[in-house]
């Protein structure tokens, strides 16, 4: 074991190009990784980060270019080749066998013992030693199914370490972690670094990248924009990184807030969901963004699912407000005052100070609140409530279906019963493709073919097409690049400026703080506090979320 910080190149990617049938994903990319560094890799979706890392981990072969390890050219035809050289990738979707134990997973395919029998005891001992050395004591016998996502990630890392990994590629490792778990992960990264492991850290969360990375490489359109060799020393800012990624200077990140109306659109009283949430009460006004902050497991998603008719309520009532005129036509909630939402978004002005035309200018007719029984998603849709699930792939989109068919799925009755109008469906979809700037090949392409950010936009389009009064949006920007993030923020702001109310659930605290008019903080299934935007700071929110007594 070499003590101290060994220097010297370990991995050298030279002039890598990757040509897919339609796009050139990588164009002469050269990247060198030094031993024992944490190398950040950032860029918008589609910039080529994933392709580059797939090549490095042996999942794909480049069209041209070579990979050198310690100066020796290597050929990676299969992930196993890469693993033998100590290159391991931890994917966003973890690759563990749920039904097997922690130890089984760590040593899967490399179990100690003879040809027939696995030496369970020595395997478990090795696993617990390994986990202890990573300072993450997990019971080796525990089934992976029973672990939290953060713990499962630890198992993945332990597995990689047990394979003598020299280069560990982490793709969005903190996307599913809470703040505390993220801290633990960073500590672990620091320890791995000390033992000489090189870590490639791919993330969209720029403050974390700046915090954890020794060097940062920015990619755009299949090329490397720049490699920052000393981001900490150079005092690189988040904004600087963002502008490097997008290729233009980004002005203030969040759109300005508009003033909500005083009309209540949704009033939740003492809502409870057995085992997840209890005694939730709040009022939501037209044009308001109410943020929900809290740690994972605080009951935010369960509460939202109860409001959306996806979960059984164990108590409480929900009142939905609507204009009288709206109620008269409630059977055909077509058009109505929200149809105008489909006009292009207002967007952000070049001068952030000039936001007067929209401020306080919402013309909302008086609302009547009425108790509404929401027992199914259909009831919720009829009441004008739209819920965008946090789990885009599993519960949000039908990946095999086309962009058009996804967009119109909920509001299909608008397009006919016995003879759906393809023309009208495409027209509606085209409008969202334009407004939300969805980057797609053909409208009839399956949603699967889109990048994460564009998929999220299709999900948003699908629910906006129902003309909701209340948009509940759960983790709107998970796995979404900066450019798409901005467009989604802009769209939410533009819609609320026109009177739509929004419940924003997010684990990205700065997102909640940056967009919301008020922030509700949940812990243990209860609302701990509802803070106004001006009193909600990272510190106060985290105090309530973690249960530390407020200062």
């Amino acid at each position: 074991m070499i003590c101290g910080m060994p220097v010297g190149q370990t991995v050298d990617l030279r002039d890598i190009s990757m040509q897919f049938p339609a796009v050139r994903a990588l164009d002469g990319v050269s990247l060198s990784l030094s031993r024992g560094e944490v190398h950040g890799l950032i860029g918008e979706n589609g910039a080529g980060k994933s392709t580059l890392m797939k090549i490095l981990s042996g999942l794909q072969r480049p069209t041209s270019g070579e990979i050198l390890i310690d100066g020796e050219p290597v050929h990676l035809h299969h992930p196993i080749d890469a693993q033998k050289l100590g290159i391991v990738m931890i994917h966003q979707e973890l690759n563990l066998v749920d039904e097997l134990s922690v130890a089984d997973n760590i040593f899967l395919g490399r179990e100690p013992g003879g040809r027939l029998w696995v030496n369970g005891r020595s395997m478990r001992r090795a696993a617990s030693d390994l986990l202890a050395s990573l300072d993450s004591p997990l019971p080796p016998r525990a089934k992976v199914r029973s672990l939290s996502i953060a713990q499962q990630q630890m198992v993945e890392i332990a597995k990689a370490v047990s394979q003598q990994a020299r280069v560990l590629i982490m793709d969005e490792p903190t996307a599913v972690l809470t703040a505390r778990e993220t801290k633990a992960l960073f500590a672990l990264i620091e320890r791995l670094k000390q033992t000489g492991v090189t870590i490639v850290y791919i993330s969209h969360i720029l403050p974390e990248v700046l915090h954890v990375c020794d060097r940062i490489t920015v990619m755009r359109d299949g090329k490397i924009v720049t490699t920052l060799n000393d981001p900490r020393g150079e005092q690189v800012t988040e904004r600087k990184l963002a502008s490097l990624m997008v290729g233009r200077e980004m002005s203030d990140f969040f759109p300005p807030r508009t003033t909500p109306s005083s009309e209540v659109v949704l009033s939740v009283k003492n809502l409870s969901v057995r085992g997840h949430a209890s005694d939730i009460s709040f009022d939501l006004h037209a044009g308001e963004i109410l943020g929900f902050a809290g740690l994972i497991g605080a009951g935010r998603t369960e509460m939202a699912e109860a409001i959306a008719g996806l979960r059984k309520k164990s108590g409480g009532r929900i009142d939905v407000g609507s204009a009288l005129a709206d109620r008269l036509h409630s059977s055909v909630r077509q058009g109505g005052p929200y149809e105008e939402m489909h006009s292009p978004p207002v967007g952000r002005d070049s001068n952030p100070a000039d936001s007067s035309p929209r401020n306080g200018g919402i013309a909302i007719p008086p609302y009547i609140l009425r108790e509404t029984k929401i027992r199914s998603p259909r009831d919720a849709v009829a009441a004008g409530i739209a819920y965008l699930s946090e789990d885009r792939k599993a519960a949000g989109l039908s990946l095999d279906l086309s962009i058009v068919h996804n967009t119109t799925l909920v509001s299909l009755p608008r397009f006919g019963t016995a003879w759906l109008s393809r023309r009208r469906e495409e027209l509606a979809t085209r409008r969202y493709v334009r407004d939300l700037q969805i980057k797609a090949g053909r409208l009839r392409d399956p949603v699967r073919s889109l990048s994460g950010g564009n998929q999220q936009k299709v999900l948003l389009a699908k629910w906006l097409e129902t003309s909701p009064r209340v948009l509940i949006i759960d983790e709107p920007t998970r796995g979404v690049d900066i450019g798409a993030k901005r467009q989604i923020y802009d769209q939410i702001a533009a819609l609320t400026a026109r009177g739509m109310a929004c419940i924003l659930i997010s684990s990205e605290l700065n997102e909640v703080l940056g967009l919301s008019h008020r922030v509700a903080v949940m812990r243990g299934g209860k609302i701990q506090a509802i803070l106004d935007a001006n009193e909600a700071t990272e510190q106060t929110v985290m105090n309530y979320a973690a249960g530390v007594s407020a200062p």
């Binding site: 049938p21 952000r348 700037q437 797609a440 090949g441």
Partner: protein, 397 residues
């Protein structure tokens, strides 16, 4: 800075291997198969019968029954399910229809036979009960016979045929609905629920016919729809004998068109794709998943009923042990060959129609070339595996 630059969607026409394999692949395979059969027949036999209209129509007629079932199976599979009970359901529903028709037509005979048996029993108690039919159906049948007699519907072919038609279709639809309820509301895996159905329906058919066959007493009135057809102009088998397009073929084509309309143009069809692609997302999208699933299996049942009716009418009988045997496999094979994804969410009716034609041409070719009929399974199996492999290749791109 304006971030709202309208984005035009480029009309990019790029070669898409997957959609190519899924849409044109089966059609090309069919064309190749037709060509090979044509050449092989000339090479081995020196004469050419395969491409004669009467042979082609014969293929269509033989396979239209499986075809109708395969249409339903396509919808079931797109919805993410499977139905193994179709063959047994065809036998049960078709058999029950003929049984009911015969009961009505021969009501008098059954009553007198029963009376004779009871008299026999009363005369010779020591000899034991010797009813003409096994329990429990004998009592049921005699009861029905009395019922028909009361209503003066007995002995009439017209009423008999009417009962056969309605009973076959209603029973099959009801069975399909029941399966759908078990799958949607009972949360059973479609494989299990329909496997149970397979066993139950076949056993009911067997017991109702006592292992034999249901032979129609309905005469030509009953067999008209299965054997008749529309005369094709310009084609004559022999001078004065026109070539007919059989009713089963016409009905198969109409059902295929209707199903394609249903899948592509209606809300129901869209929901079927959505459920097959991602059931949870469909639930979240306010689709009434349970209801749609029940509709899908009910439709499957109804189509089995139509196939059973046509088959019974054409054969003038239903064999309780063999009619509809392995229909589920032929139907699933046609669906898979047609490019429909077994996992659900993707597939087309036109693919299935081509799949049925491919199966039909293959078995016809083997017959023409005097290949042992026992080897048909080998060929069919190879084709299914090849089709699935091709789909795999298409999916990798």
């Amino acid at each position: 800075m304006n971030t709202n630059i309208p984005v035009e969607i480029p009309a990019r026409r790029r070669f898409d291997l997957r959609s190519f394999v899924e849409t044109l692949g089966p059609l090309l395979a069919l064309a190749a198969l037709v060509f090979v059969t044509y050449k092989a027949e000339i090479y081995f036999k020196g004469e050419q019968n395969f491409l004669k209209p009467e042979n082609l129509i014969n293929i269509l007629k033989q396979w239209s029954f499986v075809g109708i079932v395969a249409i339903g199976m396509t919808i079931v599979i797109i919805s993410g399910g499977i139905d193994l009970s179709v063959g047994a359901l065809v036998a049960m529903a078709g058999g029950f229809g003929i049984w009911l028709m015969n009961t009505a037509i021969n009501a008098g005979k059954f009553i007198s036979e029963n009376d004779a048996a009871i008299k026999d029993y009363n005369d010779n108690v020591a000899m034991g009960l010797n009813l003409p039919l096994t329990l429990p159906w004998s009592g049921f049948r005699v009861g029905l016979a009395h019922f028909f007699q009361q209503l003066h519907m007995d002995g009439s072919n017209a009423w008999g045929v009417f009962f056969a038609f309605t009973a076959t279709i209603l029973l099959a639809t009801l069975a399909g609905w029941l399966g759908g309820v078990l799958i949607a509301k009972g949360r059973l895996a479609p494989f299990i629920a329909t496997l149970g159905g397979l066993a139950i329906y076949r056993s009911i058919a067997l017991s109702l016919a006592d292992g034999g066959e249901f032979r129609s007493a309905g005469g030509t009135a009953f067999s008209a729809i299965g054997t008749g057809g529309i005369n094709l102009p310009h084609f004559e088998l022999r001078p004065g004998v026109p070539l007919q397009l059989p009713w089963p073929v016409i009905i198969f084509v109409l059902i295929a068109i209707f199903a394609a309309y249903l899948l592509n143009k209606t809300r129901f069809g869209r929901y079927v794709y959505a459920i097959g692609s991602n059931e949870r997302a469909a639930v979240y999208s306010a689709v009434r998943v349970d209801r749609i699933k029940i509709y899908v299996y009910t439709l499957m049942g109804a189509l089995c009923g139509i196939a059973a009716l046509l088959l019974g009418s054409r054969m003038n009988s239903i064999a309780s042990s063999s009619t509809g045997n392995l229909y589920e496999l032929d139907a699933i094979a046609a669906v898979v060959i047609g490019g429909t994804h077994l996992g659900g969410g993707r597939g087309t009716i036109r693919g299935t129609v081509v799949g049925v034609l491919i199966l039909g041409v293959i078995s016809n070719m083997l017959g023409i070339l005097n290949v042992s009929p026992y080897l048909q399974g080998t060929v069919k199996g190879s084709i299914i595996i090849a089709a699935a492999l091709l789909q795999q290749i298409g999916r990798k791109e």
